[in-house]
Subunit: 250 residues, 2 copies
Amino acid sequence: MRVVVLPFDDDGTVPLPPPGTHAVLLTPSHQFPTGGALLPARRTALVDWARAHDGLILEDDYDGEFRYDRQPVGALQGLDPERVVHLGTTSKSLATGLRLGWAVLPAALATGSLAPHGGWGGTTWGPGAMDQLTFAVFLRSGAYDRHVRAMRLRYRRRRDALVAAVTARAPGVGVSGIAAGLHAVLRLPPGTEPVVLRAAAWERLALTGLARFRHPDAVLPPADALVVGYATPADHAWPSALEALCRVLP
Amino acid sequence: MRVVVLPFDDDGTVPLPPPGTHAVLLTPSHQFPTGGALLPARRTALVDWARAHDGLILEDDYDGEFRYDRQPVGALQGLDPERVVHLGTTSKSLATGLRLGWAVLPAALATGSLAPHGGWGGTTWGPGAMDQLTFAVFLRSGAYDRHVRAMRLRYRRRRDALVAAVTARAPGVGVSGIAAGLHAVLRLPPGTEPVVLRAAAWERLALTGLARFRHPDAVLPPADALVVGYATPADHAWPSALEALCRVLP
């Protein structure tokens, strides 16, 4: 399989693949890592591409449960269920260690995906049956929905605290990608990303620079920024972590 | 990766691979599906091969917990821990659905196997953390050992009942591969395997013929036989399943 990179501009991913492409993988509800939602016109154009070229779209909805500000963003899969595979996970909503996820497949792909040698019942890898059954009970009881709603409020408060602190303490730093998910992008003055990352390491903060996620084929000029996950640490450690973050920002 | 098949004779696997082979995968304590243990002289010869050719041996010890008659068969890995990877699993001792297993690796391979992109902590597949942690508590408490001992007695009684019933009701059928594990091989008169399998399906017995496991490159003449797992069904259904099995045997 040959992998090509989709173009990316100031409005996010340009999801029109080059001729000869069979499938497109993207995170339309919350681009990773920059955090924007795919523009409505681009969503439509992508589905049109799939219909015209017999293409498949893989919609990685990795943190769609956590949307704070805007109206809910519908699943791309809803635009054409026979062209879009919707991929979900409990990695953000419950725990990465659970290793539970799901795929909502077009009917034509469902049978092959469940065949003995590629599916859960066969000899290849799948999540443990105990975790699957436990999650099914959790979901059916409504407790999963209540958990997601409670966590959404909690994460929103953390996000608000992060934005307020950065705005007050580091006015030269822009905050973006915050309408959804569990991470924000802090845009830094040009050339400062490496030194901020080194200072963060001294403060024992596990931050990632945006450069780490930059593909070698990317065409936009590099932008200095931090990708800051705010789902951790635990509540008792959160205020001091936020304070340490503000100390290292320029 | 090119896969070649090891020779197989009346004494089981002949574990001497052709020139150019880098690694050998086998089930030395209980050949699957025929059920014999690898002969001591062949165990030694295989380790000698690995030392002479810088080869790696993968010892799939899939049901080594359940040995009934003979002295325990030591792990091949014990003969040369730097040449043999020992692979274990809870699929037979607890439940296939747990998807838990382990590899005892030579030191030289351990680091690479735990690297971020190939190991449990990275972005690739591993068993769920909850199951791993639960199993660790179960193991450390001694409860796993007690469970295996209790099941060994239970499976041994089932095996004895199977052998007794087949010997009494179908004297033309030979029983082999029964010193360990959770399945027996019932050797049938030549040419009868397909008809016995069809009769078993009518009796709603899920049996597998030995032919199903035969590799296209195998050199021994075909042998008609059934591979009979006796770990299922549940106790209340076991006597009638055994009775149904005896009905379909020639």
